[in-house]
C-alpha cells in the first residue's frame, strides 16, 4: 500500500460555476445571433422603414417581391451559381487534400501552400485578378486572341463566375479535410490495404468516407458562400445582365437612392428560409457524428500513400492548375499595381510606375481602411475564437441541458447571408437605444463579423473535438476535476491546433470581409473591402490593384508571423 500522511480532500465543488459559464455563453450567443435576425423579420412585415413613424403590419411585401420583374430568373441564377461553386470547390479541395496531404507526390507541400492562396484574399480581390488576366482585355485573353480567333472562355457567364468562386472556396474544403486527415488513424487505411484493397479502393472506401464530416461541413459553408457571394456577380454578372439574389439586394438596398426596406427585408427573409432548409437537410445527411471518431487515446502518426508511376504526371497536372488559377491571377494583379497598364502589346518596362501607390497614400480613407481592417481582424478574431471555443466545448463536451438547441443556434448564421446580417445589424443598431454611439465605429463590424462567422469557427474546431477521444475528459472527471477545470486544463489545450487554425481562418475572413460591412460602414469606419468596391465602381483599376496588393501583403505577413510565433504547422 502507498504510505499516506493524511487522506486527500476531494476538490471542493464550486457550486454552479459550470452552470453559470454554460448559461452565460448560451445567453451571449443567443443575443448575438438574434440581434440582426429579429429586425429583418420585423421589417419584412412593415409597410415602411422600421425607423419611420406610423408603420403598420402588412404581408404586402411578399406579394410585391414575387411580382417584381425577373425575380424567378434571379432565383434560378442564384441556385445554379451556388451549386456549381460548391461542386467545383469540394472536388478541387478534396482532391488537393488527398494529393497534397497524403501522398508522396513531389512538391506536394509547396503546392499545398500555393493552393491556399485564394482563401487569403477576398473573392473581390480574386475577381480583379481574374479580370486582369482572363477578362475581355486581360493579358492572357489578348495573347490567346492573337493566336486563335477569339478566346475560348468567357467569365461573364454563370459557369465562368462559378469557376472563380469554386477556386476561391476550394481551400475551405482543403483545410477541413486536411485537419481531419492529419489526425485520422493510419491503421484504418492500412487495415484496408492488408485486406487486399488497392490504393484507389482504399481511397474511396476508407479515406474519403472518413473525411465525410469535414467535406460535409465545408460543403454547407461553401454553398452558403455561393449564395451570399456579392463580389463575383457584381464584377462579372451585373455588366452581363446576370442578377443573383445578392446583387438584387445590393442594387435595391445600398446602390439605390431610395432603398425599399420592405422589399429588401422580404428578399432577405426569403433567402434565409431557403438556406435554413438546406442546412437542415445537410444536418440530416451527416447523421450520427460518433461514426466518425477516429482519434483514440493512443498516439499514432499518418503515413503517405505511394503513387509510384503516377507521381510525376500528377505533379505536372497540379503545377498547371496552380499556375493557371493561383499564380497568374494574383501575379497579374500585383504586377498591375506597379504598372499604369498591362497588355501583351506593350512591353512591361515601359509602363512600370509607383504612381498607383502614390495616389493611394494621398487619400486618408485608404490608410484608414487598412488600419481599421487590421484592428477588426485581430481583436475581432480573438474574441470570436474565444467564443467559438466555449460554444464548441459546451455543445460537444458537456452535459449542459440546452446543448442541442445551443448547437443549432450557433450554427444558424450559416443560414444568414452576409448581406442579411449586414442589413440586420444596421436595423438593430438603429432600433436599440444606447447602441447609437457604437454605430459609426468598428465595433459594430466586430459584432457583425463575429456573429456571421461563428459557424466558420465551429467548423474549424468541431471536427477535431469530435475526433478527440472522450476518454481524455472522462479521465480528468473521474479524478476529481469539474467540467470547467477539465475543459481549461485538458480539452482546450488539446484543441490548441484547431483553435490556432480557427483564429487564423477568422483573422483572414475578417480582414477580407466586405459584404456585411457594406451596410454598416460609415466615414471613419471603412475597411479595405468597402474601399476596394468603391474604387472599382469609380473605375480606379490602378488604385484597386494597389490596395489589393496591400491586403495580400498584410495577410501574408500576418500568417507568416503567426506561424513562426506559435510554432505550429497550419493547415496540416
Amino acid at each position: 500500500m502507498l504510505p499516506r500522511a493524511s487522506a486527500d480532500v476531494l476538490p471542493k465543488p464550486l457550486p454552479g460555476r459550470d452552470t453559470a459559464i454554460q448559461y452565460g455563453v448560451a445567453l451571449l450567443t443567443v443575443i448575438l445571433i438574434a440581434a440582426p435576425l429579429l429586425p429583418v423579420l420585423y421589417q419584412s412585415v412593415l409597410d415602411r422603414a422600421l425607423y419611420d413613424s406610423g408603420q403598420q403590419l402588412t404581408l404586402g411585401n411578399f406579394g410585391r417581391l414575387l411580382r417584381t420583374d425577373g425575380f424567378g430568373l434571379v432565383i434560378w441564377n442564384t441556385l445554379v451559381f451556388a451549386t456549381l461553386t460548391t461542386i467545383i470547390s469540394q472536388t478541387l479541395g478534396t482532391l488537393a487534400a488527398v494529393l497534397f496531404g497524403r501522398t508522396n507526390m513531389p512538391f506536394a507541400r509547396l503546392f499545398g501552400e500555393l493552393f491556399l492562396w485564394p482563401i487569403y484574399l477576398s473573392a473581390l480581390v480574386l475577381s480583379f485578378g481574374w479580370y486582369t488576366i482572363y477578362g475581355p482585355a486581360g493579358y492572357l485573353t489578348l495573347l490567346v486572341q492573337s493566336i486563335f480567333d477569339g478566346a475560348p472562355w468567357n467569365l461573364y457567364t454563370l459557369p465562368g463566375m462559378a469557376m472563380i468562386a469554386g477556386v476561391s472556396q476550394a481551400p475551405v474544403a482543403y483545410i477541413y479535410c486536411m485537419s481531419s486527415a492529419s489526425i485520422t488513424d493510419p491503421t484504418l487505411e492500412e487495415a484496408a490495404r492488408v485486406a487486399g484493397a488497392g490504393t484507389l479502393r482504399t481511397l474511396f472506401r476508407i479515406t474519403l468516407p472518413l473525411l465525410l464530416p469535414a467535406i460535409a461541413y465545408s460543403a454547407v459553408l461553401n454553398f452558403t458562400v455561393g449564395l451570399e457571394l456579392l463580389a463575383i456577380p457584381l464584377v462579372f454578372g451585373d455588366p452581363a445582365g446576370i442578377t443573383v439574389l445578392t446583387t438584387f439586394l445590393y442594387n435595391n438596398g445600398v446602390a439605390s437612392a431610395r432603398p425599399d426596406h420592405g422589399l429588401v427585408a422580404t428578399a432577405a427573409v426569403f433567402m434565409l428560409a431557403a438556406v435554413c432548409v438546406l442546412v437542415w437537410l445537410q444536418g440530416r445527411l451527416l447523421g450520427n457524428t460518433r461514426r466518425f471518431v477516429t482519434l483514440g487515446g493512443k498516439a499514432t502518426r499518418p503515413r503517405p500513400f505511394r503513387l509510384n508511376s503516377l507521381r510525376w504526371p500528377l505533379c505536372i497536372c497540379s503545377a498547371v492548375y496552380i499556375t493557371a488559377t493561383v499564380v497568374l491571377p494574383i501575379g497579374a494583379l500585383l504586377l498591375r499595381a506597379f504598372t499604369s497598364l498591362l497588355s501583351p502589346m506593350v512591353p512591361i518596362s515601359e509602363v512600370l510606375t509607383l504612381g498607383n501607390f502614390a495616389s493611394m497614400f494621398e487619400y486618408p480613407v485608404y490608410l484608414r481602411s487598412i488600419w481599421n481592417s487590421f484592428i477588426v481582424s485581430t481583436l475581432g478574431g480573438a474574441v470570436a475564437t474565444a467564443l467559438v471555443a466555449l460554444i464548441a466545448i459546451i455543445v460537444l463536451r458537456s452535459d449542459f441541458r440546452w446543448r442541442s438547441p445551443l448547437h443549432y443556434i450557433a450554427l444558424f448564421p450559416r443560414a444568414v447571408p452576409g448581406v442579411v446580417a449586414g442589413i440586420g445589424f444596421f436595423y438593430a443598431f438603429a432600433l436599440v437605444p444606447g447602441l447609437g454611439g457604437l454605430r459609426n465605429t468598428i465595433w459594430i463590424l466586430v459584432a457583425a463579423f463575429t456573429m456571421h462567422f461563428i459557424p466558420v469557427g465551429l467548423g474549424a474546431v468541431a471536427p477535431m473535438l469530435l475526433q478527440m477521444s472522450p476518454d481524455f475528459d472522462r479521465a480528468a472527471r473521474t479524478q476529481g476535476a469539474d467540467w470547467w477545470t477539465t475543459s481549461w486544463r485538458i480539452v482546450l489545450p488539446l484543441l490548441r491546433p484547431a483553435l490556432v487554425a480557427c483564429f487564423i481562418i477568422l483573422f483572414i475572413t475578417f480582414f477580407k470581409e466586405y459584404t456585411t460591412a457594406i451596410f454598416l460602414f460609415a466615414p471613419g469606419s471603412e475597411v479595405i473591402g468597402t474601399t476596394l468596391l468603391q474604387a472599382w465602381t469609380q473605375g480606379e483599376v490602378g488604385l484597386v490593384s494597389a490596395l489589393a496588393t496591400i491586403q495580400v501583403l498584410v495577410i501574408g505577413v500576418c500568417v507568416t508571423a503567426a506561424r513562426a510565433l506559435l510554432g505550429v504547422k497550419l493547415y496540416g
Binding site: M1, L2, P3, R4, A5, A7, D8, V9, L10, P11, P13, G296, G297, K298, A299, S469, D471, F472, R474, A475, A476, R477, T478, Q479, G480, A481, D482, T485, R489, I490, P493, L494, R496
Partner: protein
C-alpha cells in the same frame, strides 16, 4: 478503500436493455472481474460506477457514500466520487509529460508541491516508471503508457479502482508479463477493484470472484474455481475455458445416486452423474472440459465412465501436444493428447462425474 454495493441496476437505451437487473456486492479489498463478450453490459456497468453513464434505475453505493439512487434522484457527478478508472485507451493526456499527467489529480486536491513531488515519484516507482517522468506519452510504448495510466490513478488513493480492459491493447507476451505484474501489485495494494475484461484467462488468474455477464444480465457470480468447474449454464461453460458439448435425450431417468443415461443422436449411450435431475425423454446438453476426456485403448472397459465411438475430423500439433477434432454422434468436440493419431476412428472415454448437464437444449457454439 470500501465495499461496493450495486442493487437492481438497470440501464436502457430506448428499447435496448444495456444493463438488466444487476446486483453485485463487492467486499472491501476484493478483486472482482466483470467478464463477458462485447455488448454484454460490463463496460456500461463500469461507467455507471464511475459516474460516466447515468443508469435508468437502481442503487450504487461505495462505503458510506451513495453514488447513485434512482428512487431518490441521487446522481453524483464523476468528480465527486473519488473513483480511480484506468481506461482501455489509457487516456494519457498527450500535451502533458508523464509527471504532469500523474500530478494532475494531486493538484486538483491542493496537495503541497513537496508532497506532490514525493507522491508522484512513489507512485511511478510502484509501476517502475520513475525514470520516465519527463517523457511525453507518445514517446512511451503501450505497456509503459498503461503503467503510467495506473500510476496516475493510484497516486490519489481512490476509494475503488476500476480497470477497463487495461491489457487488451498490449501484445500477447507483454500481456502475460503485465498480468503477472498486475497480480503482484493487486496483492500488495489490497484495493477494492472492479476489472472489466472479455479475456477469461485474465479473469481466472486475477480475480477473487468473477461476474459473468451476458446480454446485460448476470449469468453467474462465483470464484474462478466455481465458475470453471460448476458453470451455471451452457453460456458460462462455453465462455470460460474450452468446452465440448454433447446433445442427447434422457433414456434412463436419474437413479437415487443421480446417474442418468443419455442417448446421443446416433444411438450411442453415455452415463453421467449430475445434481440436476431431468425426466425421462428430456432433451439435455452435457459438457466436458478437454482435459476430462481421454482416448481409450481398444481393450479398455468403461470403468468410471462411458466409452463412445468417434470419427477423427482433424488433428493439429499445438506445441507439446496434439489437438484432435472429433465427431461424436453429430457433435463436434475437441480433445488434447500427448501422442499423434493416424486412426480415422477411435474410442473416447467420458467420465461419469465432472461433466456438467444442462437441461436446456443448446449447442455450445450456437449463441
Amino acid at each position: 478503500m470500501a465495499e461496493l454495493v450495486i442493487e437492481q441496476l438497470h440501464k436502457r437505451f430506448g428499447p435496448v436493455k444495456a444493463i438488466d437487473d444487476v446486483n453485485i456486492h463487492v467486499a472491501d479489498g476484493e478483486f472482482v472481474t466483470l467478464l463477458g463478450p462485447s455488448g454484454c453490459g460490463k463496460s456500461t456497468t463500469l461507467g455507471a460506477i464511475a459516474g460516466l453513464d447515468q443508469p435508468t434505475s437502481g442503487r450504487i453505493r461505495v462505503g458510506g457514500k451513495t453514488y447513485f439512487d434512482g428512487d431518490k434522484a441521487i446522481f453524483l457527478p464523476p468528480e465527486a466520487r473519488n473513483c480511480g478508472l484506468v481506461f482501455q485507451s489509457y487516456a494519457l493526456w498527450p500535451h502533458m509529460t508523464v509527471y504532469d499527467n500523474v500530478v494532475f489529480p494531486l493538484k486538483l486536491r491542493k496537495v503541497s508541491t513537496a508532497d506532490c513531488k514525493r507522491r508522484v515519484e512513489e507512485s511511478l516507482a510502484l509501476v517502475e516508471m520513475e525514470r520516465f517522468q519527463d517523457r511525453y506519452p507518445h514517446q512511451l510504448s503501450g505497456g509503459q503508457q498503461q503503467r503510467v495510466a495506473l500510476a496516475r490513478t493510484l497516486v490519489y488513493q481512490p476509494e475503488i479502482l476500476l480497470l477497463d480492459e487495461p491489457l487488451s491493447n498490449l501484445d500477447a507476451k507483454l500481456r502475460d508479463r503485465a498480468r503477472t505484474w498486475l497480480a503482484e501489485l493487486r496483492t500488495r495494494l489490497g484495493l477494492t477493484t472492479i476489472y472489466v475484461t472479455h479475456d477469461q484467462v485474465e479473469a481466472l488468474a486475477l480475480s477473487d470472484r468473477i461476474v459473468v455477464m451476458n446480454g446485460g444480465r448476470i449469468s453467474q457470480i462465483g470464484t474462478p474455481q466455481e465458475i470453471y468447474t460448476r458453470p451455471a449454464d451452457s453460456f458460462v461453460a462455453d465462455f470460460i475455458g474450452t468446452t465440448n458439448f454433447l446433445n442427447g435425450d434422457v433414456v434412463g431417468a436419474p437413479d437415487a445416486d443421480g446417474q442418468t443415461l443419455v442417448s446421443l443422436a446416433d444411438g450411442q449411450r453415455v452415463l453421467i452423474k449430475s445434481d440436476r435431475r431431468p425426466s425421462l425423454g428430456d432433451k439435455v446438453t452435457f459438457a466436458y472440459r478437454p482435459e476430462q476426456m481421454r482416448i481409450a485403448a481398444a481393450n479398455d472397459q468403461a470403468v468410471g465412465g462411458s466409452i463412445v465411438d468417434a470419427d477423427v475430423v482433424s488433428h493439429s500439433y499445438v506445441g507439446g501436444r496434439w489437438q484432435i477434432g472429433l465427431n461424436v454422434g453429430g457433435n463436434q468436440i475437441r480433445i488434447e493428447t500427448q501422442d499423434a493419431t493416424t486412426d480415422r476412428r477411435l474410442r473416447l472415454w467420458l467420465p461419469l462425474t465432472g461433466g456438467i448437464m444442462f437441461t436446456e437444449r443448446t449447442h455450445g457454439k450456437s449463441h
